[in-house]
């Protein structure tokens, strides 16, 4: 093996000598894959802002769950639905429009979470929820992430076709006797659970990035939903690994670096995707124009 290859392998293997890096790697991988699969539906339904809202609004639920010793997932789901319910109430019973209703509800709930953290003993633990604490994930926390992630993935994949139908044509779903409102509610519940999974990795603030960027990136690459469901997690997991290693060697915040890698991947695809990228569509338009001019000449 050449010296260069040996060095490359060393670069990849060295960090894994630390137990905390192994746990960090597994946590980001699970979180990025689960978020990426869910994000395919979120970006198509137009629920990006809703994803942002639910991810933030689970904070007080998680803190209260911590205080009473209940599972984080339970608190998160309760507050996730509470947020969606409140958004609906504000939107439907006042003249305030939906985007403002979302902004009011989720920031208020998030603020409630911050206040609860400030009055709860053992603040260090809970502050990690906000910005993530990838390098400090314990084995029990990692187990929770894996169990929740597996549950979310299983439901998403078993009901994949129903969710796609829900995203594409709710009226048809209703017309053939399915229950679109129930499908929507299940998807929101999964969103709240996913927020719990991902906030271990990158924290509440950056969860939304993992819930939107991978789906949006895959959407620019393909016209087939089935391929989106493969591309999004592959891209997201690759970015997670690259981001984590970069943060190790550059000594930067791991959560932030992972999201930066995802943002960079989106920018690359946005520019260079053959079919829906900026350069691709510009070149195609140019070729068409040249062909027309040549035909006219």
């Amino acid at each position: 093996m050449s010296a260069l290859a040996t060095t490359a392998v060393d670069l990849l293997v060295d960090p894994l000598a630390y137990d905390f890096m192994v746990r960090a790697l597994l946590t980001t991988l699970v979180a990025s894959v689960v978020c990426a699969v869910l994000s395919c539906w979120l970006v198509l339904i137009g629920w990006s802002l809703m994803g942002d809202a639910v991810a933030h609004a689970v904070l007080p639920g998680v803190v209260l769950a911590y205080v009473v010793g209940a599972p984080f997932a339970l608190g998160a789901v309760v507050f996730g639905f509470l947020a969606v319910g409140l958004i609906g109430v504000v939107r439907d019973t006042s003249r305030v429009k939906e985007d403002a209703a979302i902004g009011i509800v989720f920031t208020t709930l998030f603020a409630l979470g911050l206040v609860l953290i400030s009055v709860t003993p053992s603040q260090t633990d809970l502050n990690h929820i906000i910005f993530g604490n990838l390098l400090g994930v314990s084995w029990p926390e990692l187990t929770q992430v894996m169990v929740l992630g597996a549950v979310v993935l299983a439901v998403l994949l078993i009901k994949s076709r129903d969710f796609t139908l829900y995203a594409f044509d709710r009226t048809h779903a209703h017309a053939i006797g399915l229950r679109p409102r129930l499908l929507g509610a299940v998807l929101l519940g999964l969103l709240a659970l996913t927020a719990v999974v991902a906030l271990q990795a990158v924290g509440v603030v950056l969860v939304v990035a993992m819930l939107i960027i991978p789906g949006a990136t895959a959407y620019l690459l393909t016209d087939r939903f089935g391929r989106m469901l493969v591309l999004a997690p592959v891209i997201s997991a690759s970015c997670a690994v690259i981001g984590l290693y970069a943060s190790y060697y550059l000594d930067t915040a791991p959560g932030g670096t992972v999201v930066l890698a995802q943002g960079a991947a989106f920018a690359l695809v946005y520019l260079a995707s053959p079919r829906h990228g900026l350069l691709g569509t510009r070149w195609a338009a140019r070729r068409r124009r040249l062909r027309r001019e040549r035909a006219a000449a």
Partner: protein, 246 residues
């Protein structure tokens, strides 16, 4: 005699303060095509939503395919072809994927299609003449082809009642003629079809009967009779040249 495809009686629907339907009645028999004519805001969409059970009327009764709307939906008896504006045409699905969604009501937990479902979809695609385009993304079809793909979804579903909302909007004359032929064939096979439109020139060829809607059904009868200028004037106020105001 078979039960009516659609039997709406004295239906009143209110959205908050707004009265959308006010004692509307409409009965369409199987094998018939009914043109539903009315201005924007006359309640055409609300009537469709009522038939599909998407809105619950304050008063009145709705029967579809001889039973309740819910029973008809569970049986896969009702198909709806949406207006173009209601559809996300950049959605990453192929024409075949969309038509396959007609089969979901017949499928199990994961909606995994079986051979019979693939065959039903193939037959439906063939029937409406978009089979060669089946693997295109749904937005890469012309206006008329898009509409026919959605009709194919209803055929694959095995629907006996077809509701089409403005199927001729953004469709050229050739496609319109193809669509008229297709709907006539489906009616001849026993489907009950309701087509809402404010483009009236296709109606005489397409529809056996027409209904003028203005929150309630003002007039329901043979198409030629309903399309008389003095009758249209009732529904549109103006539009005596036979073309409704948009």
């Amino acid at each position: 005699m078979a039960a009516p495809a659609v039997d709406v009686r004295e239906v009143t629907v209110r959205y908050g303060e707004v009265l959308a339907l006010d004692g509307a009645s409409l009965r369409v028999e199987p094998g018939r095509v009914c043109g539903l004519i009315g201005m924007n805001g006359s309640g055409k969409s609300t009537l469709f939503k009522t038939i599909m059970g998407l809105v619950t009327p304050e008063h009145g009764t709705v029967a579809v395919d001889g039973g309740s709307s819910a029973r008809a939906r569970r049986a896969g008896a009702v198909a709806y072809v949406p207006q173009s504006e209601e559809v996300d045409w950049s959605f990453p699905l192929t024409v075949r994927d969309v038509v396959m969604m007609g089969r979901y009501g017949h499928l199990g937990l994961t909606r995994r299609p079986r051979r019979a479902d693939h065959e039903a979809v193939d037959a439906a695609l063939e029937r409406v003449g978009v089979a060669p385009l089946a693997s295109r993304q749904i937005g890469r079809l012309s206006g008329g082809q898009r509409k026919r793909a959605f009709v194919a979804r209803g055929i694959a579903q095995g629907a006996r009642v077809l509701l089409l909302d403005e199927p001729f909007a953004g469709v050229d004359r050739d496609s319109e003629a193809t669509m008229v032929r297709l709907l006539r064939e489906l009616a001849a096979e026993g489907a009950g079809i309701v087509v809402s439109t404010h483009d009236l020139h296709a109606l005489p060829e397409l529809a056996d009967e027409a209904a003028l809607l203005m929150r309630r059904v003002l007039l329901h009868g043979p198409t030629a009779q309903v399309l008389r200028p003095e009758n249209l004037a009732m529904a549109f106020g103006l539009g005596l040249d036979g073309r409704a105001e948009p």
